[in-house]
């Protein structure tokens, strides 16, 4: 059984990076040392009574092992995330993690396609870094409703540049990048390139719209799924995902699933 940690640490920064989207960094060295791409943390505000009973799951967006920090990037959608925005530097936040299986990067991947949208973007940043470090070419497609809601793009720039990959943006209203959904871009890319690994994270419909064509093209495709979670440790069975092999717990059997195993 993997060691899991409950760790409380001060907030290093918590800043708005796009409309309703925040980037927060917290000093939690134990989790920083253990986290792998695709894992997540269960978060609770520690400095004042939490407005919510349950913790909130957020992808590990970035890690600085030397500094001992873990970053998350979150979109304000309700009371819990609203409370997070009020946390200031030095306030304490409580993390449980790292949780989940993470991405299973094929050892020989040469050309990877990463597709994400909305709150799925943060889950792919460390994966892009790892793929680039392995020498794979990394193409990234990021979708958003509109330019003002597009966040975390610059964090992908290093790995895309270093790996000679390409960045594609898609917005529903065409305010930046291509006008349309993420799959408008990925459909074309899948048809014109020989990818050997596709990773997807975003709203369910978007995941489906990328995963099904990827499977059709015979490319190994992984998706990171979102479910409402209570325990985040595999105990409550609240977060199940329907797979061809029966119900799986999103929190510990996932959140990353082989797209061909998921019952879409």
């Amino acid at each position: 059984m993997d060691q899991k940690l409950q760790e409380r640490g001060p907030v290093l920064f918590n800043r708005q990076v796009a409309e309703g989207i925040y980037h927060m960094s917290v000093l939690v060295p134990g989790i920083a040392a253990a986290a792998r791409p695709g894992q997540f943390v269960q978060v609770m505000v520690a400095s004042e009574p939490s407005v919510q009973f349950l913790r909130m799951p957020f992808a590990v967006f970035d890690v600085d092992e030397a500094a001992g920090s873990v970053d998350i990037c979150y979109q304000v959608v309700g009371e819990g995330t609203e409370q997070l925005t009020r946390v200031v530097v030095g306030d304490e936040v409580d993390f449980v993690g790292p949780i989940g299986n993470g991405w299973h990067v094929p050892a020989n991947a040469k050309h990877a396609l990463l597709a994400c949208g909305g709150v799925g973007v943060p889950a792919l940043k460390l994966l892009a870094d790892e793929l680039a470090a392995m020498g794979a070419r990394v193409d990234v497609v990021i979708g958003a409703q509109t330019e003002k809601r597009l966040a975390c793009v610059e964090q992908f720039e290093d790995s895309i540049r270093d790996s000679h990959g390409a960045l594609y943006l898609a917005t529903d209203d065409g305010s930046t990048g291509i006008k349309g959904f993420v799959n408008a871009v990925t459909d074309e890319l899948l048809a014109s390139h020989d990818y050997d690994y596709v990773a997807v994270c975003g709203p369910p419909l978007m995941e489906r719209s990328v995963a099904l064509p990827a499977i059709e093209h015979g490319v190994t495709c992984e998706v990171s799924m979102e479910r409402l979670m209570a325990c985040g440790v595999g105990a409550c069975l609240g977060c199940v995902v329907e797979t061809k092999d029966g119900l799986k717990r999103c929190c510990v059997d996932g959140p990353v699933f082989d797209a061909s195993e998921v019952v879409w």
């Binding site: 349950l54 913790r55 409402l228 325990c231 440790v233 105990a235 069975l237 119900l247």
Partner: protein, 305 residues
């Protein structure tokens, strides 16, 4: 400093301390082993197990509630055979009592589970769930009717010499009626409370937050109800009580013992703090030391009214 004697006995089940976990909130214990040594607990109570695998209800099956949560998991479990193969062996290696929570749709299904578990040497006690609000047949219907509650208890009593704990639902007018019925039918102990039937609505979508519409409320929100029911039950029966419902701190647990519980179970608090059960135990020990309590069992029903 002298140590506190934390031992208690729940209807023939000796526990090295009064703290266990509430069924369905702790898996079979292994899920929490990455956080702490679960052998420190007085007992581990497993997720409910039925004769055949159950898939449970559709998702979403959890929702936030003020000071708590709703769930409509619906007793998803791999079935008793798989449970004995892949979950129980791990629990057997832990130096803590194993209480297996038993569920069924029909009397016959409860019987099948216990018959199978009688073959497993490491099971220390049964907790019979006649109180689940999340299954259509069986579950809570057995727990709301004294005659049916007694019938299940009698049938299972005949099958085992192991401590038989019957888990009661708060979704009744008078819980003492059910408690007395299962006591008379041979239960060694009762545990209470299971979740309170509740509901959550998303006003924006004009839709229920749970796919099943209704679900069970747990967490600190239900503690006052649970305390009241433990107190009423303590005054109505002679068998021991495992008290639960919103316990999150050592002081909460002490309150349940004062109301009449012999042991306590930590439930939804495990989700917020994976170390909650350990913190409850530590808090109880600290309370005993501060208040000159040499044996924790002195506190059972010691409420001064």
């Amino acid at each position: 400093m002298s140590t506190v004697d934390m031992c208690v006995n729940v209807g023939g089940l000796p526990m090295k301390n009064p703290v266990t976990v509430a069924s369905g909130t702790f898996g079979h214990g292994e899920e929490f082993a990455g956080f702490f040594d679960v052998s420190q607990l007085g007992a581990v109570t497993t997720k409910g197990v039925s004769p055949l695998p159950w898939d449970g209800n559709a998702t979403p099956r959890i929702a936030e509630a003020p000071c708590g949560m709703l769930n409509s998991i619906g007793l998803q479990n791999p079935g008793v055979e798989e449970f004995c193969k892949s979950q129980l062996p791990w629990l057997a290696t832990q130096d803590t009592a194993a209480i297996v929570n038993v569920s069924g749709h029909t009397l016959q299904e409860y019987v099948q589970v216990i018959e199978r578990l009688e073959d497993e040497a490491c099971v220390d006690a049964y907790e019979v769930n006649i109180s689940c609000p999340n299954v259509d047949a069986g579950g809570m219907t057995f727990g709301t009717d004294p005659a049916q509650a007694a019938e299940v208890t009698t049938a299972l009593r005949a099958l085992t010499k192991r401590p038989l704990i019957v888990k009661l639902t708060p979704n009744v007018t008078d819980i003492t009626v059910i408690a007395k019925a299962v006591e008379a039918a041979g239960a060694d102990a009762v545990s209470l409370i299971n979740t309170l039937l509740g509901m959550a609505i998303d006003a924006k979508r004009r839709a229920p937050k749970l796919a099943r519409v209704v679900g069970g409320l747990s967490g600190p929100a239900i503690k006052p109800v649970a305390l009241r029911m433990v107190w009423e039950t303590y005054n109505a029966v002679d068998i021991p009580i495992i008290g639960m419902g919103g316990i999150a701190t050592g002081e909460d647990a002490i309150e349940f013992m004062l109301a009449g519980a012999t042991a306590v179970a930590v439930g939804a608090a495990n989700f917020v703090d994976p170390l909650a059960s350990l913190h409850v135990l530590e808090g109880m020990v600290a309370y005993c030391k501060e208040n000159g309590v040499a044996q924790v069992s002195e506190l059972i029903g010691a409420l001064e009214v």
